[in-house]
Symmetry: D2
Subunit: 149 residues, 4 copies
């Protein structure tokens, strides 16, 4: 069975907008927080120097589907799984829930990169990192179910 990583977060005043709800761009910040907490939990830094190089994971694609608004002081549950792992990329999925109801579904694809002199280039995901990520990869059946729900 696929492992899940769960993160809890309360909505702050500064994150709302004049419509009285969590601003749509802030879902991506919640997602990044969840992602960073997940990577910490498996012991892989998302931004680290490795001698002269910085190993980082810039995003190549993000998306969010919004189902219902979140409000000030809401306590959200963010559940992270991995949609897939490629040779150099990882696609996260974060479901945002309040009281077991889905508010949003966020996806983001990041690419393993080495940064030297301010420039990024993609590299293969190290085997040790891949081994730590694999328990969280959703099966095809689970991905199919998520789409149709």
């Amino acid at each position: 069975m696929t492992a899940e990583f769960t993160y809890h977060r309360r909505i702050q005043f500064a994150e709302t907008d004049l419509a009285g709800v969590l601003h749509f761009s802030n879902y991506f910040r919640l997602m990044e927080e969840t992602e960073c907490a997940f990577w910490r939990s498996i012991g892989v830094p998302v931004y680290a120097s490795d001698g002269d190089r910085i190993i980082s994971w810039p995003r190549v694609a993000t998306s969010c589907e919004y189902a219902a608004p979140a409000r000030f002081e809401d306590e959200l549950e963010l559940v992270l799984t991995l949609e897939k792992i490629g040779e150099r990329s990882v696609t996260h999925q974060v479901e945002v829930r309040r009281d077991n109801r889905r508010l949003a579904l966020i996806k983001t694809t990041i690419v393993c990169c080495a940064m030297e002199h301010g420039r990024f280039s993609s590299v293969s995901i190290p085997a040790a990192t891949r081994a730590k990520l694999e328990p969280y990869v959703r099966t095809d059946t689970e991905n199919q179910k998520a789409k149709s729900s």
Copy 2:
């Protein structure tokens, strides 16, 4: 020929992150700025009271594909067109460029809603608004070309 709306914006210090680039979540804020400037230009408010109701356009979906990083003080050109208009929804596309190079392609779908007592419900796009939006809708041929480029 499809009309385009162009907006210019310089990247601010607070919008960067420790990787030295525009934080990925801030592309959505740039998109929203461009969108609001576009709606102002056609004379349709994005958030307005209409008697007891607030007419607003919450987002149901957003996505961004990142091609190259933007940096502090970069002057970006944001070019807005509409991918489609539905009965109750509008899908914007914003291409983020620097020196004619695409840095990112952002899409967002908003739904025409009436808000009463803090709750939204979707309504048909008023005919007058639809007429102002139509010149900016991309043709099928243009959408096809955008995908393959």
Copy 3:
């Protein structure tokens, strides 16, 4: 002895800037989070409707002195006390610490207001709220010591 309210918060990636540190404006967001957590802890909402009125506490003044930078993933301790309570205003002080070292000292003065039809006007702090705040008010001696340290 003056009561203190302590809040813990980890620095997120999106909160850093290209200098590699917590952006200076984000200290005010940390302060607001701490403040909201404090008000929740004493059972007084910072933004609540009271019949037709909204009772809220807009800021009239804020300040921050920065002693040392905070960085990505730092775990900060934010310690809130009250510098003073006036007839209609409250002045919070939040000390930001990492490993018992002061990184910043933030002050903010908020005023008890009633908002009707989108306009604020100041009102006296309700006696029940005042009673809950009083244990956290610093003595003159403590305020004096804070200045000279």
Copy 4:
């Protein structure tokens, strides 16, 4: 007569909060934007590499007094002058206005620093930079008047 630098900026949707006004922390971002535009106008970069060193200007103190709220789509005028220049520090003052009415008064003190290996240390302001800043320094009379107004 003291020179002033004026910057114009429209309030964006994402900068508002559920009270329907510009969030108090965002005044500091407006101030930084104004400051950066000012430094660009006099030809001095606020963040630049000088051989192995980064010359930057971290903040040591900020403050803001709020007089009246700003709202979505407001066009603000931000007027920058310098309160004083020290051996290593500069204190900016930015008045935020809408229709000639003061909404806020922001002050910030920055220190000229060299950053090597991720650590800052303060250095004297270069003479060429000082010469470009001096026309914007307020006289004692002006500072006195600002306090009493």
